[in-house]
């Protein structure tokens, strides 16, 4: 079965650079959630999109922005990177239009900021 795809899987950037993380949902999933997970921490919700509109916002820094495109994939744009942004970034997708509650997680992007 198709799963959530995230790219790149690993990314190394320097401070003050920018990064773009991509998430491709499971086919027919209309909702994307972004989470950040620091070392030894639980995933923290950043932002979500439903049918290409932002649906909820969590602890996302102003330096970050995201959007969902017409094909339902989503991109998380991160600017002015800081050392503390080093983390695993997961997206999860769901079929909310089908009233599904379960979120399916991707394999994550490991971002390292040097």
């Amino acid at each position: 079965a198709a799963g959530v795809i995230q790219s790149p899987r690993h990314l190394i950037k320097e401070k003050r650079e920018t990064a773009t993380l991509k998430c491709y949902p499971i086919p027919r999933h209309d909702t994307v959630y972004w989470y950040q997970q620091g070392p030894g921490q639980d995933p923290q919700f950043l932002i979500s999109f439903y049918e290409k509109m932002q649906s909820d916002k969590g602890s996302i820094p102003d330096r970050f922005s995201a959007q969902q495109f017409s094909d339902y994939h989503s991109e998380l744009n991160m600017s002015s990177l800081e050392l503390g942004d080093s983390a695993l970034y997961f997206c999860a997708t769901a079929d909310r239009g089908g009233a599904g509650d379960e979120q399916f997680f991707g394999p994550g992007t490991r971002l390292t900021v040097l």
Binding site: Y33, Q44, F45, Y50, D56, R96, D101, E102, F105
Partner: protein, 114 residues
Amino acid sequence: GESVGLHLPTLSVQEGDNSIINCAYSNSASDYFIWYKQESGKGPQFIIDIRSNMDKRQGQRVTVLLNKTVKHLSLQIAATQPGDSAVYFCAEKPSGGSNYKLTFGKGTLLTVNP
């Protein structure tokens, strides 16, 4: 035990024993709870879920118990196997509106000794 800083609560069991992982959730308005398993370097993987109108749900080798009175969730794994070694997170979703984001609890590291 309580997690402090980067230290996860840990549970070490022998192969074949039963494991019980506990989670205290914070929002009495949450109506949907999920247990996720996360192996090193991978995204959270759905194990089992339960709605607030239930107090017990069973899956294959796993059982989730929900005590709404004390806002406590537990995951029981029967006949624990080495492949069960991972970090386990509980997550909750508040009821109502468009708030579908998940709030994760602190993970528990399960180590299964052969």
